[in-house]
């Protein structure tokens, strides 16, 4: 009996067209860095879950689906196999549903599995799928009953796959070694280097150093954390000089945009790459 289905080899599912898409996009697996994600949901074959699995692949994660075999699969089967897979596969995080099957006793089986996982390893990041109405109030009740150090978060099952992966990434909490800015640039904070990516090769942009590089790191980190996060002026003031700190900052950012633009043979307009949002602060956006 196969307890865990490794979904890392798309060719296993030749009949399903989305795996070929996954294969094409496998090259961009920088975020997930091949981390295993254990997916525990009795509806793992549903379209909704397939879109989540696909997104995990695209972002470079390796989803492992717990799929007990047999005619009558109950929540207990999922529990046993999940605990087994935790030991044997050592995943980086678990994606877990609350409801299992149509048996009334399995209505909240996910919560009991969650408790078992936390008992075993309280540091294991677990992202739970809730159904709207079992929402935040119940989440509070569940987290209160858990060990306070438990690394658990909740997300609605209707959330977009992007949102699911974002929350999962945040839950795992590993800072990436490099941050990609769209498909054009890559930032390596440890080595204080910014690269331009062309034809799959990286080339360092030497012009961007010192404060300009630090501004870029600050903006890129905010973008990596959350697409809509703005870096307010107060957080950028330390990168400015003179009496008019905003003007000095404006100059630095203009120079930064020119340097980045030169590297890719483009001229970034006011609404591209680094945007001043209504004089509140700056935001980095995907240059496309």
């Amino acid at each position: 009996m196969v307890s865990v289905t490794d979904r890392s080899t798309p060719t296993d599912h030749g009949r399903n067209p989305y795996w070929s898409l996954v294969e094409v996009l496998m090259a961009s697996r920088s975020v997930g860095a091949g981390q295993k994600i254990l997916v525990v949901d009795d509806e793992h074959m549903s379209d909704l879950m397939r879109s989540v699995l696909r997104r995990l692949h695209v972002d470079g994660f390796k989803p492992l689906v717990v799929a007990p075999e047999g005619e009558l699969v109950t929540g207990d089967d999922y529990e046993t196999q999940t605990l087994f897979a935790l030991e044997n596969e050592r995943p980086s995080a678990v994606l877990l549903d609350v409801r299992f099957g149509e048996y009334d006793t399995d209505r909240f089986k996910g919560l009991s599995i969650l408790n078992k996982i936390v008992e075993k390893d309280s540091s294991m990041p677990v992202l739970m799928f809730t159904q709207y109405a079992q929402g935040p109030y119940r989440d509070t009740a569940v987290t209160a009953s858990l060990n306070t150090s438990a690394n658990v978060d909740f997300i609605d099952k209707l959330a977009s796959p992007e949102e699911v992966v974002l929350r999962l990434r945040r839950l795992i909490g590993n800072a990436p070694e490099t941050i990609r800015i769209g498909s054009l640039f890559e930032l390596d904070p440890d080595n204080a280097a910014v690269y331009v990516i062309a034809d799959g090769r990286r080339e360092i942009i030497r012009e961007i150093q010192g404060m300009k590089f630090e501004i870029l790191v600050e903006l890129a980190a905010a973008m990596y954390r959350s697409e809509g996060e703005l870096v307010p002026f107060s957080r950028l003031e330390r990168f400015s000089e003179g009496e008019d700190s905003r003007a000095s900052l404006r100059v630095r950012i203009r120079e930064l945009k020119i340097s980045l633009g030169k590297a890719v043979g483009r001229e970034f307009s006011a609404n591209e790459l680094i945007i001043n949002v209504r004089n509140r602060g700056y935001r980095l956006v995907d240059p496309g």
Binding site: P17, Y18, S20, L21, V24, S46, D47, L48, M49, R50, S51, R54, R99, Q131, Y132, A133, Q134, G135, P136, Y137, D139, T140, A144, D156, K157, L158, A159, S160, P161, E162, E163, L166, R167, R225, S226, E227, G228, E229, L230, V231, P232, S234, R235, V277, R278, R280, G281, R283
Partner: protein, 323 residues
């Protein structure tokens, strides 16, 4: 009279009844007999004790019966609120089933379209976007009704727990950034200080209020929505700003009324249930804070440079004192 007051009265009457029993027991020590014959050779204090014990026991029993009726305790000791919430869970889960299927199919189609590389007919793209955009709408509607049920329970108290409020704002923003983008709106958020830290309050209520405000802002904004989280003395504030046409002065007093929507007053098609702001304001008050609005409108139905609406949610940094 709410259940808490009833409970206090019940414990008081029960205590007095116990004092009555004590009086009977202690009467040989503290009283003097008033009748000479053996049959009535009992201290008067025992009579008083018996009257107190019987009278107050009867009152206590009556209160308990009334309380059970009010609380509607079921055979498995669930309260009215819990029973309603449980039914609601089942209802919402079943109602969501078709939506999950539709949404799943839509995402599959989207993936196929992007795989084949061809640009789909405009109407197909619009349909896919519409389905994707209605999902959070549906989530919020269901959640609003559930919170309404919860608000009916006069005994329910807001939770007091350590809450990472910046994470809540970030999660709500993450959910609405793609929706706003589809509508041509730039949604940004930030918090000051950058490391905001924890507050003590009700995380789920906070999440719900912010979601309603952001949902509202993305509906009415022209180009920009800003969510700003700040510390302000012993309070923290979440401001949700949009550059929409603003709310006219005549509408402002009704904004937080249950069931009121601007479309209703304009006699046009109703786009929202009119519950969001009512719930947000009620939840904010219940959590020891308040929700206020500041809006500038030029009343011509089009956004001008300075027309805007800003909702300001203020809550205590530490709500443990109000628990």
């Amino acid at each position: 009279m709410n259940l808490r007051t009833l409970r206090i009265i019940k414990f008081s009457t029960a205590t007095i009844a116990v004092v009555g029993v004590l009086l009977i027991a202690l009467s040989p020590l503290i009283g003097e007999p008033i009748f000479g014959n053996r049959l009535w050779w009992i201290e008067p204090i025992a009579y008083i004790g018996a009257a107190i014990a019987i009278g107050f026991s009867a009152v206590t029993i009556l209160i308990m019966r009334f309380e059970n009726k009010r609380r509607w305790v079921t055979s498995d000791n669930r309260t009215w609120s819990q029973v309603t919430q449980d039914y609601f869970d089942t209802f919402a889960h079943d109602m969501g089933r078709p939506l999950r299927r539709i949404l799943g199919k839509e995402r599959e189609v989207r993936a196929l379209v992007s795989e084949t590389g061809g640009a789909p007919v405009k109407v197909v793209t619009e349909l896919l976007n519409e389905i994707e955009q209605q999902a959070p709408n549906f989530r919020l509607m269901i959640e609003n009704v559930r919170v309404l049920v919860d608000l009916e329970d006069a005994d329910a108290r807001p939770a007091i727990e350590p809450v990472d409020v910046a994470a809540i704002v970030r999660n709500v923003a993450d959910r609405y950034v793609p929706i706003a983008r589809e509508r041509g709106i730039e949604l940004v958020w930030w918090c000051e200080p950058a490391e905001f830290g924890l507050v003590y309050g009700d995380g789920s209520a906070l999440d719900h209020v912010i979601t309603n405000l952001v949902d509202n802002a993305t509906k009415y904004a022209e180009e920009h929505v800003e969510i700003r989280l700040e510390r302000n003395g012993s309070q923290f504030t979440v401001s949700v700003w949009d550059d929409g046409t603003g709310i006219s002065e005549s509408h402002l007093p009704h904004l937080f009324d249950r069931g009121w929507t601007p479309e209703l007053s304009a006699r046009s098609e109703k786009q929202s249930s009119g519950l969001g702001l009512f719930i947000a304001a009620t939840l904010a008050r219940r959590c020891g804070g308040e929700l206020s609005v500041d809006s500038t409108s030029h009343g011509n139905g089009t956004g001008t440079e300075d027309s805007h609406t800003a909702f300001l949610l203020s809550l205590p940094l530490d709500n443990r004192a109000n628990a």
